[in-house]
């Protein structure tokens, strides 16, 4: 009963593995800069294991760890098919050595690397398609009417009545009163925002997170915008 408050269990995770082909820190740094620049958000605090089996020359492990952490990765440890003495050395220096499944070390590494590359491609691609164009609606959107801006931002020059619904895959701007429902980032876009000249909405939703009127008290009846901060809806004063 002494250890009832904690429990150790094994579990598998997918980790990103950084394969090094050189032990020259300057070259590694240059390549990391390039890679991270492609999708800084994606790499932020990502756990990384460093594979050192392809290294011909010795490397300063401590300096390597510092370098990796400089790019805001979370350093986990080292891995790779290396001699037992080297593993021992690494452990003695205070780093953990992560064992991969023996059968297909190389294979797995390849898969891991591939998945990282595709993820990056995906992130880059989706960042691009968030550069939405605007669908502009002039006039009031009346009770019972629904307007959807597919793959676009929605701009309403007029009010959205109670009982009306405006939906956009991008942002929603209402240059009037927002009294109905507004759903931004409908296809999943956590940076979508909702702006209005007068917040009296029945419901606002961004990327699936929603608020009913009762949550909007702070900026009720005034110009405001709604956005997500750490998956929480927040309203702020517009002017």
């Amino acid at each position: 009963m002494a250890d009832a408050s904690i429990e150790f269990k094994g579990s598998s995770f997918t980790l990103s593995v950084l394969h090094l082909r050189t032990s020259k820190l300057a070259n590694i740094r240059a390549d990391l800069i390039k890679k991270v620049a492609q999708a800084p958000d994606f790499f932020y605090l990502v756990p990384v294991v460093v594979n050192i089996e392809k290294l011909m020359a010795a490397i300063d492990y401590q300096a390597l760890k510092t370098l990796i952490e400089e790019f805001n990765f979370t350093f986990v440890g080292f891995t790779g098919d290396v001699a037992t003495e080297q593993r021992k050395l690494i452990r003695e220096l205070g780093f953990s050595f992560v064992n991969t499944t023996k059968v297909s070390t190389a294979q797995k590494a390849a898969i891991a690397q591939e998945s990282v590359t595709t993820e990056v491609a995906k992130i880059v691609a989706s960042t691009e398609c968030h550069l939405y164009t605007d669908k502009v609606h002039r006039g009031q959107i009346r009770s019972g009417q629904q307007l959807y801006a597919k793959d676009q931002n929605l701009v309403v020059i007029g009010s959205v009545s109670a009982g009306a619904e405006v939906i956009a895959d991008g942002n929603i701007h209402v240059y009037g009163s927002l009294r109905g429902r507004a759903i931004a980032g409908a296809k999943g876009h956590h940076k979508a925002q909702i702006y209005c000249q007068n917040l009296e909405a029945e419901l606002v939703s961004i990327n699936g997170n929603y608020w009913l009127s009762e949550s909007m008290e702070q900026h009720w009846g005034s110009p405001a915008f709604i956005h997500l901060t750490d998956s929480e809806l927040t309203s702020s004063k517009l002017i």
Partner: protein
């Protein structure tokens, strides 16, 4: 070209038929040829308000079905000769109307009359859609309370999307807001939405504000449209509506509660 005006609201019991009757008589008294059509098939009311229920022989549905001519069905008003009424059928339902035949009847009426006033049934179903389909203008009758305003908003959406003008991409229907059963005292007490609130929500031009008045019920039961009661506030307010419909600028009356005290009489504006 006759002006086809639909009197509509979405919600029932807000004063569509009372307003249709008053506006019909008011325009006719100004010398225009007016026909009032009751689109509320199955719930015939307009003839009662107009006091001609005992003179109904043929109705709108008979004309649509070719069982009677327009001249047989039209009832001439006994008070104002330039006003006629086309009553609804009490025995049929709203499916008896179809766009094609209603269009033909309206076209025929347009040759004789200056104004065709369509009294819409409540709701947003086929009957109400038929009444608004051919309209050039719409008088959206609203009570100063949230459900009525919400329903009017819905109807305004329909006017903009389901009418003939919308379907053909013509100039949109001209919308007017008619606020009925308005009680300034209750607005001041916070029990009722104010004119400003309703105009803000619906954002359409205000045609008139009819004060809540005992004379309206009395007039309805007597079959004498309230506009003929020139002493009543409601009668005067409808008179202003007619002037505004005819393009005049008339100041709004009956928007503030009457002040009773001696001081307010001395100093009040």
């Amino acid at each position: 070209m006759a002006r086809i005006i639909v009197v509509t609201s979405g919600k029932g019991g807000v004063g569509k038929t009372t307003s249709s009757a008053a506006i019909g008589i008011g325009l006719a008294l100004k010398g225009h040829k007016v026909v009032l059509i009751d689109f509320d098939i199955g719930l015939r009311n307009l003839d009662l308000i107009m006091g001609c229920e005992r003179r109904v022989v043929y109705d709108f549905v008979n004309v649509i079905n070719g069982e009677a001519t327009l001249n047989q069905a039209l009832i001439k008003d006994k008070r104002v000769s330039s006003l006629s009424i086309l009553p609804a059928s009490q025995t049929r339902d709203k499916d008896a109307l179809n766009k094609e035949n209603v269009g033909k009847v309206l076209e025929e009426l347009g040759k004789t009359f200056d104004y065709i006033i369509c009294d819409s049934p409540a709701g947003i179903e086929a009957g109400a859609m038929m009444a608004l389909y051919f309209a050039d203008e719409a008088i959206v009758t609203t009570n100063p309370e949230v459900s009525s305003v919400r329903d009017s908003d819905r109807i305004l959406g329909m006017l903009a999307s389901r009418s003939r003008r919308a379907e053909l991409g013509l100039e949109p229907i001209k919308e007017h807001l008619l606020l009925t059963r308005y009680s300034p005292k209750r607005v001041e007490e916070g029990e009722m939405l104010s004119v400003e609130d309703v105009v803000d929500i619906l954002s359409i031009p205000l045609l008139g504000v009819i004060p809540e008045s005992q004379s309206v019920l009395k007039a309805s039961n007597a079959g004498e449209p309230v506009i003929l009661d020139v002493e009543s506030d409601a009668g005067k307010a409808y008179q202003d509506v007619i002037d505004r419909l005819l393009g005049e600028t008339v100041e709004f009356r009956f928007l503030v509660a009457e002040k009773k005290g001696i001081f307010s009489r001395m100093f009040g504006g």
